[in-house]
């Protein structure tokens, strides 16, 4: 469109296809302008959003104004932060001051946070621009983004399929080139599952690596903010900015933040890759399994060695995970009573308890209510020891399994999801089946480890397959570096989805 970009050989209409670091480098070299990037992105959003429904709130005007401001600053020779004015999409459960933040729930209708989450402050400080909030399963409870009060998001690789969840809008927006970076949150796989289904990179950092201040809690001992990006470099780049100790989050760690982008090129020769046989069991789809095994061969061909490890308690992780996350959710979501903010029932006639009951019954969706009921039950007197305490014990056993495994290897690899993206509605009436597909992602949250998902191939339907690399505590550096080498070798990361409805 503009002369500037034509000069450099890029059609600004196509800027949306570029990686984050490529846009940054071109901005640095003044080959392109921020205006051009934002023009390209919003044109892309307008062309695709009706098909995808990635966003629940778009901040087009403020984003473009901000981009212009940065652009004129640059012209005047002023300094700009590491993010160079590049865009990110926020997940609808991370608080941005005066931007509607609803967790895609009716109960938070109209809620405007009066403060920024720490990650938002850090991104803003690095001169990143938020372009809007993405769709998700209500309160991050789901693996398909079908449980949103705004309706589902559609998978860019096949519009009849789900994008995964709960950060489905984030993953589809990145995959379809609607944004360059996206924030997600991962409680049992909510970053990695949609990244896997949408063929993009999803990074779930170690619990405590990124501040949770301003992240609306689902299950606070498991939740962690993560990045969804087009490539591994971008994920490393984004993590560098958002990671680190935050005095407002007691559970955030003061362990030093590595220079992740600088570590990407480090040799992976003689790195030891742990392969847990339990992660390749019966439930894993054959095409998924083969693709992941092929990727392992590729890593080995780059000089890494593999070793068998075992996570014997894997079969208990889904039960353990759901007991814990539901228990915590039942308490975390108690604050939504309609008395101070958000949805308030208008049909109440009794006392304040009646009002709270009606507000919560009307404001929460089915899946959220199901989890609050079950979580309340498992924490109740008489059941607490049987369920909650037992789940904590199993959690400790799973942690032990991983600790033992990491004595033998530098990272553990597996499929991210046992399957590829399924059809909308396919699992909606079968919550147990829906829960079961989290089996390979949720153990990571139970232990608190970092993990990354990146595409390693496509199945016969042309749907992306996700490859998961799990790291030891605070060793994001290793998994990013291995992921980077694999990504460069496979070289499929630039492939864009078709935005067509699949046959069948």
């Amino acid at each position: 469109m503009t002369n500037l970009s034509e000069k450099s050989g890029y059609n600004s209409m196509e800027l949306y296809k570029l990686m984050g670091y490529e846009l940054r480098d071109k901005l640095k070299r003044k080959e392109i302008t921020l205006d051009a990037i934002y023009q390209s992105l919003f044109e892309r959003i307008h062309a695709t959003e009706d098909l995808l429904h990635s966003f629940v709130h778009l901040a087009e005007e403020t984003a473009i104004n901000k981009a212009r401001e940065y652009q004129s600053n640059l012209k005047e020779g002023k300094k700009i932060g590491a993010f160079h004015g590049l865009p990110f999409a926020n997940k609808d459960l991370i608080s941005i001051k005066n931007v509607p933040t609803t967790c895609c729930s009716k109960i938070l209708k109209g809620f405007l946070p009066p403060y920024n989450a720490t990650v938002i402050d850090r991104l803003y400080k690095a001169d990143a621009i938020s372009i809007g909030n993405t769709n998700m399963d209500e309160f991050a409870m789901g693996s398909s983004t079908e449980n949103s009060c705004y309706g589902p998001t559609y998978n860019p690789w096949d519009l009849s399929r789900v994008p995964g969840g709960s950060s489905g809008g984030a993953a589809s927006s990145v995959a379809a080139g609607q944004t360059v970076f996206a924030l997600g949150s991962d409680t049992g796989g909510s970053v990695r599952c949609p990244a896997s289904f949408c063929g993009v990179v999803g990074l779930k950092p170690t619990y405590g690596r990124v501040s949770r201040y301003g992240l609306i809690a689902f299950a606070n001992s498991l939740d962690q903010i993560g990045c969804i990006t087009k490539c591994v470099y971008d994920a490393a780049f984004m993590l560098e900015i958002i990671a680190g100790k935050d005095p407002l989050d007691s559970t955030s760690s003061n362990i030093k933040v590595d220079k992740y982008t600088e570590g990407l090129n480090e040799s992976i020769v003689n790195k030891i890759i742990g392969i847990p046989e339990e992660f390749f069991g019966e439930g894993v789809n054959k095409e998924v399994k083969n693709s992941v095994l092929k990727a392992i061969d590729t890593i080995e061909s780059l000089g890494a060695k593999s070793v068998e490890v075992s996570i014997p308690h894997l079969e208990y992780t889904v039960a353990t995970y759901y007991l814990i996350c539901m228990s915590e959710a039942s308490s975390n979501l108690a604050r939504f009573d309609g008395l101070r903010y958000g949805y308030a029932s208008e049909s109440f006639e009794g006392d304040v308890y009646d009002f709270i009951k009606r507000t919560r019954s009307e404001g929460f969706g089915d899946e959220v209510r199901r989890r609050i009921f079950l979580g309340t039950y498992t924490l109740s007197a008489g059941y607490y020891d049987m369920y909650y305490i037992k789940a904590l014990k199993t959690r400790a056993l799973i942690k032990k399994d991983f600790n033992k495994a990491f004595k033998k290897c530098d990272c553990i690899v597996s499929p991210t999801m046992p399957i590829t993206a399924f059809k909308l509605g396919e699992l909606l009436d079968d919550p147990i089946q829906m829960y079961t597909i989290d089996i390979l992602t949720c153990p990571v949250n139970l232990v608190g480890l970092p993990a990354i998902s990146l595409p390693c191939g496509f199945d016969s339907n042309g749907l992306p397959i996700g490859f998961q690399i799990i790291g030891d505590f605070f060793d994001e550096k290793t998994i990013l570096s291995i992921a980077y080498h694999l990504e460069q070798e496979l070289n499929i990361y630039r492939k864009m989805p078709t935005l067509k409805r699949g046959i069948m």
Partner: protein, 488 residues
């Protein structure tokens, strides 16, 4: 029936606001919310906006450590805060962050004790535990709860730090409870963690039962003074039920301060299930030995230690020293006063204590004031003792000066204008009093049965002296004379 043996068992749960903290327990909002406009001392954390997280106030841990040490508790080195889940409009998270000593949880400190003295008997009241928790907000009504057309919520108090002190069920009477609270209040004043004079800084729940019967828990006792009253009422209520052979049920009752009765709130089967579980937005609190040692090193002299020292240094009796130290301000006043005049010795130490604990304390009690609310100077009490010793005034005259001394007047000042305007000359008043008694045998007879009859005699003296007689001295002289005649 009256001969029936009623063994009373009382356990107290005392909630103290740590008013001397600068900020709330989990955020940096000011703790000093009293008198502030509603909802002006709030932030995303203490009104629990989505996404906000608590951060522990380290100073609160230090204050609790001080109390733990002062009460001789075993301080736990590592514990989690717990969530106590229930819905109420004053509780914006839908749970209260507290501590729990079951289900894997631990209190801040276990055990501990406070020694009390009642009717010259000493007794140790064992403490079960102390723990930290956050205060909820406050519901505000127009007029009474029953008639108010609405309920407003003020979250200024939300998140203020409370420390809960739970006794073992070893208290045998309302009087013992009163003495326990007196000692506890004293310790808290000495270690400087709270000003219990502030309204709403204290809340007490009491578990009361009569041996062999179900217990009740009386909640909402909002001052130490009310505790004795509430306990008395509840014990009478329970005894009466037993006498009428009615069954007592385990229940929670509410103390209605205005009507002075306890009202049933709920019975056992409707007890809430609080679903306690660890608060994982906070990391476990770790209290190292060095931290405790540092707290110990900065711990001020405690009242019981001070009493021992006062006995040693001023040769006071055990009874006097223990009474004197209860209010730190009075004890400070004492020590300052007796050290002003180097000629003071054993006799004066004792007198100074007597003046403080009898006339001054009595006056304070009558006026419902604390020593620090008055302008009484330690030096003026020294003068008073010296003036009596030197024969400048009599004890009776000195007593009549107390009211003016409380306003900050020196003895010389008082004597100056008292001498001019009032007949306080004891000899003269003695004379007048004898005359009045002799001349009014009927009124004197009345004094036998009517305590107020003495007022008529005082009135007659006032009339005779045209209002110049000091009424307090006159009263004392009259009482002395009537006592001599065995009238009263």
């Amino acid at each position: 029936m009256d001969g029936q043996d009623f063994k009373i068992i009382i356990g107290l749960e005392v909630h103290i606001q740590l008013t001397n903290l600068q900020t709330k327990l989990f955020c940096s909002c000011s703790n000093d919310y009293r008198g502030a406009d509603p909802n002006t001392h709030i932030c995303p954390i203490c009104i629990s906006l989505p996404g906000s997280l608590p951060v522990v106030n380290k100073r609160a841990i230090e204050f609790a450590t001080r109390l733990g040490l002062a009460l001789n508790c075993k301080i736990n080195h590592k514990f989690w805060f717990y969530r106590k889940n229930y819905f109420y409009p004053d509780l914006p998270k839908g749970f209260q962050i507290s501590q729990y000593n079951k289900a894997g949880g631990k209190a801040f400190g276990d055990g501990g004790e406070i020694q009390i003295r009642l009717n010259n008997h000493k007794k140790v009241i064992q403490i079960n535990r102390i723990h930290l928790e956050e205060d909820p907000g406050r519901l505000v009504h127009k007029g009474s709860i029953a008639t108010s057309p609405y309920t407003l919520v003020d979250y200024n108090r939300s998140g203020v730090c409370l420390i809960e002190i739970v006794t073992e069920p070893v208290i045998k009477s309302p009087e013992e409870a009163r003495e326990f609270l007196k000692q506890l209040k004293s310790i808290i004043q000495y270690i400087g963690i709270s000003n219990l004079e502030l309204e709403g800084s204290v809340r007490v729940d009491a578990n009361i039962s009569i041996k062999g019967h179900e217990r009740s828990e009386v909640k909402n006792i909002n001052s130490f003074k009310e505790v004795e009253r509430a306990l008395r009422h509840e014990i009478v209520r329970q005894k009466n039920l037993i006498k009428r052979r009615k069954e007592l049920t385990q229940e929670t009752r509410h103390w209605d301060e205005k009507r002075r009765v306890t009202i049933s709130m709920r019975t056992k089967e409707f007890e809430a299930d609080y679903r306690y579980f660890p608060e994982q937005d906070l990391v476990p609190i770790v209290i190292k030995d060095e931290f405790i040692e540092r707290a110990k090193a900065t711990l001020p002299e405690l009242p019981n230690e001070r009493a021992i020292r006062l006995r040693r240094e001023y040769l006071l009796s055990e009874f006097d020293s223990e009474n004197l130290v209860i209010d730190k301000n009075i004890a400070d006043f004492y020590e300052q006063g007796v050290n002003i005049d180097p000629s003071f010795g054993l006799e004066e130490y004792k007198q100074y204590c007597n003046w403080l604990m009898n006339s001054i304390a009595g006056w304070l009690n009558d006026h419902n004031l604390n020593l620090e609310d008055t302008k009484l100077q330690p030096r003026h009490l020294v003068d008073l003792i010296n003036f009596i010793k030197d024969g400048k005034i009599t004890t009776k005259i000195a007593k009549s000066f107390i009211g003016d001394m409380m306003k900050g007047s020196s003895l010389t000042e008082i004597m100056k204008w008292k001498g001019k305007t009032r007949i306080s000359d004891e000899v003269l008043l003695q004379k007048y009093s004898k005359e009045i008694i002799n001349n009014n045998p009927k009124i004197v007879e009345d004094c036998r049965s009517n305590a107020r009859a003495i007022e008529a005699l005082i009135g007659k003296i006032m009339a005779k002296t045209k209002g110049q007689a000091d009424p307090e001295i006159t009263r004392e002289i009259l009482i002395d004379l009537l006592k001599k005649k065995s009238i009263i």
